[in-house]
Amino acid sequence: MIEVSKKCIGCGKCVPVCPFAAIQMVDRLAVMNEACTLCGACVQVCPVKAITINREEASARRDLSSYKGVWVYVELMDVPGKGHGKKIRPVTLELLSAGRKLADELGQELCAVLIAEKNQGWEKELGEYGADKVYLAEHPEFFEYNTDVFSTAVIGIINRHKPSVMLYPASIQGRDLAPRVAASIYVGLTADCTALAIRDGLLVQSRPAFGGNIMADILSPNSRPQMATVRPNVMKIDEPRPGRTAIVVREEIKIDKNLRRVKVLERKLAHDKAGAKIEEARVVISGGRGLKTKEKFKMLEDLSALLGGVVGASRAAVDMGFKEKTHQVGQSGTTVSPKLYLACGISGAVQHIVGMKASDIIVAVNKDPNAPIFNVARHGVVGDVHEIVPKLIETLKKKGK
């Protein structure tokens, strides 16, 4: 499992970095006790590489049936303009809804893993959205996401409590963290899943590959937890149940500041006026060349505001200066998958379609009945955006009053 070789010089550097206080110096030699979770923090700091973890042996000893429960990694996000304020990233709730179904199918608990500088009563929200239990690790070093710090904590909590399934958002944070954890504990990880199910007690992880031209079902039959990152905006959020509570289990973890090996010098959040990001928007109103001028394009802003959405643009519209590049949807822009995607005056070049075809309901308005956008749209409207969009705005404004 974990071994300390003769190379150990008894420097003691590993003792303070152990998050679980599992190392003692005995006769100038590091000795691990049963609190060791094989998180690997000591391996990282050992100056003479005297500590090794034998993963194979560790995994051979795994009794798969002792792994129980479906876990969801809780991603926190900064609240714009509120200093160090944080809130739960909405994709976490999607994962809880998906995880709830898996847990029910398996007859097991749904647990949320919350790693935070300070819990702000989040167990309430997590409970209402389906969690039975919240594993809470609080520490000042968790003030912002850091790969080394967070992966050490997650690995430790997994090794202590042995979940059967663990889900992460396929966000930048989740895709940074999950492979690190998987590599460390030698378990399977499937990226960017769009569907999850249980078959014969195993997690079936469905994901697109080759740019969405192919779907694959992936299993991790011989390792636990079965881990997956899940694409945001795909899983439906179930109605919260007010008053439903989750038990909080506190995880004692100490984090040495030397674990943090990458330093953030500067961070900027580029929020839309309304504070919404196009990747996360529930509604995206997109415009293309068909809008003709920057002034005309502005009507999409009005429509979007009425629907609580975010404006997107085709590459042509960006190239013509109708909208900033940060709003470009497509291969060389952003990939979006909102619940509603309204394409106005967009012909539907391949490079645009790959960036929006995962949207739930696509409505396209175009003058040309043969525009390729109608091949991906669920609802096609042949007509002039310059006439139809103002009518939409007018009606919605009337309703608002």
Binding site: D148, D176, D192, R261, R267
Partner: protein, 263 residues
């Protein structure tokens, strides 16, 4: 600075289709290219080499024909190339692949930075880079727009959800690189291609890198592909045409039904 760049040979993904009857990938006639993200990573590494000196070594894993992407990288300016090629690697998932690449990189010798593409366009997993970093026990900086050097440290600008950050990392460190918005892959010139043939190139097997075989290939991979299939076909769009007023009413009805607006 010694930089290792990981490159992967990929089919030009937009061309790959599936045979609906056999369920197999149709790869015939699909051109193989250097993964564009890896190409961007290589260009970033070469830029650092040009400015600050140092050595750029390429590493790839794949069948013998994957030599072409290593050769391409050498022609673009890398100094040395390594291809990990062995039947034992066949069928490796991201875990096993990062294990093998980490072993190969360890054999290359002292490395200050590893550059990987953020993801490969055939798998889109973005898992191999962080996997290598963990296997080597070094820090990672993922989703980088670009990486520069400041004194002894690296400075990277990276994407985060909802913005970007500038980070500093001491070597050794692994970066995963995004394709810049205005990236047009450079093609090597004829003299560059000609010169690249003389550059050191090695093919290493699992034994050469000291990889334990039970971690490799289909058997060593914790994930298994149980089934591949074509994505569900979208039904044809429900088309509507009428006056602007009718069209607007039609769209509003769709929005009402989807509960995007109140009844």
């Amino acid at each position: 600075m010694n930089i290792v760049v990981c490159v992967k040979q990929v089919p030009d993904s937009t061309e790959v289709k599936i045979n609906p009857e056999t369920g197999h990938l149709i790869r015939a006639g699909v051109p193989s290219i250097i993964n564009p993200y890896d190409h961007a990573a290589l260009e970033n590494a070469l830029k650092l080499k040009k400015t600050y000196g140092g050595r750029v070594t390429l590493i790839s894993m794949g069948p013998p024909q994957a030599r072409s992407v290593v050769q391409m990288g050498l022609a673009l300016g890398a100094d040395e190339g390594v291809l990990l090629s062995d039947m034992a690697f066949a069928g490796s998932d991201t875990w096993s692949t990062s294990y093998a690449l980490a072993k190969g990189i360890a054999k290359i010798g002292k490395t200050d930075a590893i550059f990987c593409g953020m993801q490969a366009i055939d798998g889109d997993t973005a898992q191999t880079g962080p996997g290598i970093a963990q296997q080597l026990g070094i820090p990672q900086v993922t989703f980088c727009e670009h990486v520069d050097i400041d004194g002894k440290n690296f400075i990277a600008r990276r994407h985060i959800d909802g913005g970007h950050e500038i980070v500093e990392a001491r070597p050794p460190v692994l970066f995963t690189i995004l394709v810049p918005k205005e990236f047009s892959p450079r093609c090597p010139s004829f003299p560059e291609i000609h010169g690249s043939v003389k550059k050191p190139y090695h093919v290493w097997t699992a034994d050469d890198i000291g990889a334990e075989k039970h971690y490799l290939g289909l058997k060593g991979s914790p994930t298994q592909v149980s089934r591949i299939y074509p994505p569900p076909q979208r039904e044809k769009a429900e088309m509507f045409s009428g006056s602007a007023h009718e069209a607007a009413e039609h769209i509003l009805a769709i929005m009402r039904k989807g509960q995007f607006i109140a009844e």
